[in-house]
Symmetry: C2
Subunit: 425 residues, 2 copies
């Protein structure tokens, strides 16, 4: 699927900030019509235009308010039965004065009606550049990598995490027991499954109490405070209440499903959160998996980082999901790329889904950084020698990856890794 | 695109409420694998499952918490180069006890990670049935059709509306002048463009004051209060403040872009709104236009109605957008279909985008109801004899449609319609 190539820019150092006072968005456009004309229609639809020329739409008005087609770069055309399908990369821009610096209003401008235009056969928004005034009204991540490392006490290596499984069905007591076991196993980070929130089978408050009892006991005994991402996803009052409970119990992280709470939900959470926000992107498939329509992660994640996401999910290499490896790495790199000179808004990428001891070498080679959360379910709980060996094997695999030593060689005198390599191939 | 046929159910009278205490969702699944097996993977991914069998996932736990595959109906398979692509309609169900009645948590359950599973090549969520406990925590539309008719004084025919164009660029004074002209032209309803919110070029408060001065003057003089949907889309505090301004100026409607504010934003607005909520679906294209992935409107709109949407956009027949006519009608019908016996949550469908005098006959024939807002931009302002004739021509067209008289025949002694038919073909 060639569209992925056009979207993926693996350089971590590109200038992220627009030099002007204009908002810019890049799109991959597919159309059977003249691409220049379609780009003009897009700019019109998303600013002053309508389908009938109106006397009120003066030249002066267009000058102060209209979107502009900044550039149009031809990509490889696709021949088809019914004529050539043109593929172009289009950059549109808008003056901040006609949009303002509100993220919800930005969405309607850069990703509103234009996807429905019948002049086009495909449209993906692949990047977004915001001028510096956008950095003012939003908090951005309050904790980011540094705050997460401080709260977990984990430095110079990835944070090893796991997910409470089964996703739903455990009682609060059973969850607490599992967390106790995971703490003893040496885990750094644990998260609720995104399906678990405040259901009758596991009420939030009871679960939080049970989990934090295990975590606080362990911290008292060992000095190591495990970070638990409690899923506060819900209505606003529910999110506020659950966040209060977490903070009251000395918890150090909350989780929210971005596509469930939406932008206003995330902005509010970003404002009141006193602990890092673990941002889950479940539902991302319906926004991104179609080759011709939707969002690229590079554009999408900027909005959520500015709203306050500290950790952002990016899948993982060789996962159980359909996403290709190069797309996963591009997503992680973009989370680590500063957004504004004065407010970098760096989010810590979360690798998950089918992750075992197998992926660290390729992950580290591609990312060039240990600033990530590496979350594994089965690789921890399903290790043949139990969860302590599971955690140890993942630490081993990352130590090997960061030292540039092949896993097999490193496994010779690291038994947990050796056993894991036998179990997970 | 045959997927549309499977989604569209034009019956307005299907039982909308689930008889059990389970949540049900229907999907159109495309896969090269065994569809039964993929459906089981979907159910697992969206409830208790993980990719490694865990000792904690007992039979009893699965019984109380797991999703079930309720049915699997084969649709037409598609032969392709690399083997047969199976197409099936899958119905999954979940016990309310493992999800709870929170709409954001519902989203993560019915539309979470499953779109990313690599066992499937296509997945659309095409319907959603919620058990009655969901009707309790959410307000649903507070005004619906009845309240909108009461506030506008328009009965037994569609509400004729228009949109402020150019979309952005007019000053508050220019907008007020345009509204004054539209009031004099006999319009029932006017809306902000979704690109217009609170930009420096047209600050919300100034625009609202200017617009409501025109509307209140007109109402005092004529007794007719035009409904204006002010775009309150923004952060939560911005939405609250703008809503207060509207209510303080005796405005009768607010508008929000659903995909911009998200579910928490809409739920909050639904709770505090004292006037009808005009729900704009811009961005709908990136959720729906892909043939194989995404959402059907039938599933999607239920969530927003329950959250409080009084008016819901459905495009219009023969619009400038890519949506097919039968899909537009199916969307409108589903807005008019009760959700719960005790709380029907009916939303008034809004027809817009390239609407002129041409579409009313087919629209009325297909919908069988005048309970809609018919919004036209160019057909009002661009009428050769001016906006008053524009509004009159749309009223004529609807009178003709509802009386079953062909437009050409009706136009013989209705000059505004006659001129419009010449101008808009």
């Amino acid at each position: 699927m060639h569209h992925h190539d056009d979207e993926i820019d693996t350089a971590r150092t590109q200038p992220a900030e627009v030099r002007t006072d204009r908002i810019e968005a890049d799109y991959i456009l597919e159309t059977r019509h003249d691409p220049h004309q379609v780009a003009m229609v897009m700019a019109g639809e998303q600013s002053s235009g309508t389908f009938v020329a109106l006397p009120t739409e003066t030249e002066e008005l267009r000058e102060r308010a209209a979107a502009r087609v900044e550039s149009l770069v031809p990509l490889e055309d696709t021949p088809s039965e019914s004529g050539v399908m043109h593929r172009v990369k289009v950059t549109l821009s808008w003056p901040v004065e006609s949009v303002d610096t509100s993220l919800p209003n930005l969405m309607a401008t850069v990703a509103g009606n234009l996807f429905e235009l019948n002049h086009l056969s495909g449209l993906r928004i692949v990047d977004l550049r915001l001028p510096s005034p956008f950095a003012v009204p939003y908090p951005g991540p309050k904790f980011s990598i540094e705050g997460t490392r401080r709260l977990t006490g984990v430095h110079d290596r990835p944070i090893i995490g796991t997910i409470i499984k089964p996703s739903v069905g455990l009682t609060p007591e059973e969850t607490g027991d599992l967390v106790r076991e995971l703490c003893q196993a040496g885990i750094d980070f644990i998260k609720d499954d995104e399906l678990q929130a405040d259901a009758p089978l596991s009420r939030f408050e009871e679960r939080a109490q049970s989990v934090m009892r295990a975590i606080n006991d362990h911290a008292e005994r060992t000095g190591k405070k495990v970070m638990y991402a409690f899923n506060v996803t819900g209505d606003l009052d529910q999110m506020r209440r659950r966040h209060e409970i977490v903070v009251g119990l000395e918890g150090t992280c909350v989780m929210a499903s971005l596509n469930s709470v939406g932008l206003v939900g995330m902005i509010e959470l970003g404002r009141f959160a006193e602990v890092p926000i673990h941002a889950h992107r479940n539902g991302w498939g319906y926004l991104s998996r179609c080759p011709t329509f939707g969002w690229s992660y590079k554009a999408w994640q900027k909005v959520w980082r500015l709203a306050g996401a500290d950790h952002l999910h990016v899948n993982g290499l060789d996962s159980k999901f359909a996403e290709e490896n190069e797309s996963v790495i591009a997503s992680a790199l973009t989370c680590l790329t500063p957004m504004f000179a004065t407010k970098p808004c760096i989010a810590m990428p979360v690798f998950s889904s089918g992750q075992t001891v197998r992926q660290p070498p390729a992950t580290y080679a591609a990312l060039g950084s240990p600033d990530l959360i590496y979350a594994a379910g089965g690789a921890v709980m399903g290790h043949p020698d139990g969860p302590m060996a599971g955690v140890a094997s993942l630490r081993d695999a990352w130590d090997a990856a960061m030292a540039g030593i092949p896993l097999d060689a490193y496994a010779v005198d690291h038994a947990p890794l050796k056993r894991a390599l036998e179990a997970f191939d």
